[in-house]
Amino acid sequence: MTAVGASTLLEPGSAGALRPTGGGVGHRAIVATRRLLRSSRMVIGLVLLVFFVLVAIVGPHLVGNPNAFVGPSMAGPSARFWLGTTMPGQNIFYQLVDSTSGTLEVGFLAGALATLVSVVIGIGGGFVGGYVDELLALFSNVILIIPGLPLIIVVASYVKSSSLLPTILIIAFTSWAGYARVLRGQTLSIRNRDYVLAARVAGEKTWRIIFVEILPSELAVIVSNFIFMVIFAILTQSTLAFLGIGDLSTLTWGNMLNVANNDEALTSGAWWWFVPPGLCIALVGTALALVNFGLDEILNPRLRVYKAPKVRR
């Protein structure tokens, strides 16, 4: 049952013959959930992620105004100011909580957009084939090889805007290329498998072949790419904000670090100002990476039953 379930998850399109005869959708969901919880990496990652998402949604309503000047300058952590204060005397803990939503927003939106582009170009090109595919592959390779951050810095500083939208768009449109290449390779190999050829012979429509036969087989890869791109987007946005580029009016962890660096928190020894924001970024990134590892264990049976063989001499 376990093995059958895994293969249904992996290749729903091809697994018609393997589909479990007994048990409805409810039963399969229970099995999947149980397997989800068996991976300790997955559980730790999910708990961390849910925590940060909750903070992003609920947090800003629970804490006071993060920009108000409420305390002494650069005071260390205390019972009143849990994480101390900034140079002008703002509450760092409030800022940390308030920054969560902005950072996560950029990560997930840019990640989703980049995934969409990579799916359209990778799978579309791989499926259509011919010179369209050659052109799209060339396009991906060119985008891939042009160094991203300098381009993002130049574009983000030219487009002056007081919202995070330009940052999201720029990150998304410079980061899809690597994954489009992976998806193209996958599509090229799946396109000629027997079950896809059978679907063609049976006269299925093109959109049905793409969405029902090919896309589900690549779902595991797409989800994993999405998670990596969210991590990448969060890191890139933080770097940009830290460098003082793009929208500086919305509070994000990167912005906090930028202000801390400009106000010489480092040479004043105010570690409570520059350590927490970076730690939060690293924790969100680690949570996402753990979820990805966990998904890998669940979706890839070979990794799950893996046991280290005897050590070679």
């Binding site: 060339l138 390779n141 060119v142 891939l144 090889i145 042009i146 160094p147 991203g148 951050l149 300098p150 381009l151 810095i153 130049v154 574009v155 500083s157 030219y158 487009v159 002056k160 690597g178 991590i231 890191l235 933080s238 770097t239 830290f242 460098l243 003082g244 580029i245 990167g254 670090l257 660096n261 480092l266 040479t267 020894g269 570690w271 520059f274 350590v275 924001p277 970076g278 970024i281 690293a282 924790l283 969100v284 990134g285 680690t286 996402l288 990476a289 753990l290 590892f293 280290a308 063989p309 050590v311 070679r312 001499r313």
Partner: protein, 327 residues
């Protein structure tokens, strides 16, 4: 030869794409970039006559249609006319770039090669001794890849330069030194480069280690390795001459792709350490609305990454004969 021609063709297309992208970038600036730039130049001093016209040609916003603008832009590039820098008025942009580039190339280049070599070596060993304590290093690398690089650099700077005064706080050389080929300057420059280099190595070594470890594990189960063992070759010879030699191939490809990311990381590094390299200049340019300098640096960084990639690709064809035959 077909392999070389294919690669050259691809990089020509990529270079053309980068140059054309650079042509369109100034159109994103709200307002007239030439007017903004000229007023900035006037603040700094008196720009030479005709500079406004040259800038218009360079930024691709001169008179005439799109094609004539594009043609004039290419013409300006071909003559290395990159304009005058606002940040370092009245030094030409090409000269600013030429003096900043060596700092980045030497530091980032050395750090990347060290990171690659050490990471590959440790990765091969980790794959060889799979299932021992070496494997416990792997989860740590997950955390390392999720850490924002600039923050790691800030922490190390705080610990090693502020709390314990092991390294200097910032700059590329001591304030009392004058750049030149004398020992006191070179010593100071090396002293200032160790911490930045260290942060690059720490941040990037995990990726090489993990990739090499996994490839070594895969290669070790290949038939020719089993055959080598059956022949009774020494484990050392099997690892170095048989397994690692083949396992390293994907890492070499990865090395080419990672160069772009290395450049990206170096921008943050130079900002954190106030290191006088090309990334630091780029940020200065962008913050000063010094469009000519920003454009010039973007183009130089991109072309440098393309050139480095081309070299790695050609080396790859040389190291791995299979790529030459199949293509």
């Amino acid at each position: 030869m077909r392999y070389v021609a294919r690669k050259l063709g691809f990089y020509l297309v990529a270079a053309w794409a980068a140059i054309t992208l650079n042509f369109f970038l100034p159109r994103l600036i709200p307002g007239n970039p030439v007017e903004i730039l000229m007023s900035r130049l006037d603040e700094s001093g008196s720009p030479p006559p005709g500079e406004a016209h040259r800038l218009a040609l360079l930024l691709g916003v001169g008179t005439g249609g799109l094609f004539s603008q594009y043609w004039h832009y290419l013409d300006a590039l071909a003559h290395f006319n990159l304009g005058i820098s606002v940040t370092d008025f009245p030094v030409p942009v090409s000269q600013v770039i030429a003096s900043a580039l060596p700092w980045t190339l030497v530091l980032v280049g050395t750090a990347t090669v060290i990171s690659f070599v050490v990471g590959i070596t440790l990765g091969a060993l980790a794959g060889w001794k799979r299932g021992t304590w070496v494997d416990s290093l792997i989860p740590t690398t997950t955390f390392l890849t999720a850490i924002p690089y600039f923050w790691l650099a800030l922490l190390l700077l705080y610990l090693l330069a502020f709390v314990f005064h092991v390294f200097p706080l910032n700059g590329g050389y001591g304030a009392s030194e004058t750049p030149g080929w004398n020992w006191s300057f070179i010593g100071s420059a090396i002293d200032h480069s160790i911490l930045p280099a260290l942060t690059i190595v720490i941040a990037s070594i995990g990726g090489w280690l993990l990739g090499m470890r996994n490839m070594t594990v895969t290669t070790l189960s290949d038939d020719y390795v089993v055959a080598a063992e059956a022949k009774g070759l020494s484990p050392r010879r099997i690892l170095v001459g048989y397994a690692a030699r083949n396992a390293v191939m994907p890492s070499i490809t990865g090395f080419a792709i990672s160069l772009g990311f290395v450049v990206s990381g170096s921008v943050a590094m130079e900002y954190v350490f106030s290191y006088p390299g090309i990334g630091y200049e780029l940020l200065q340019a962008v913050n000063n609305e010094d469009y000519a300098l920003a454009q010039g640096i973007f183009l130089v960084i991109t072309l440098a990454v393309l050139a480095a990639n081309l070299i790695v690709d050609l080396l790859y064809g040389f190291v791995d004969p299979r790529t030459r035959q199949s293509r």
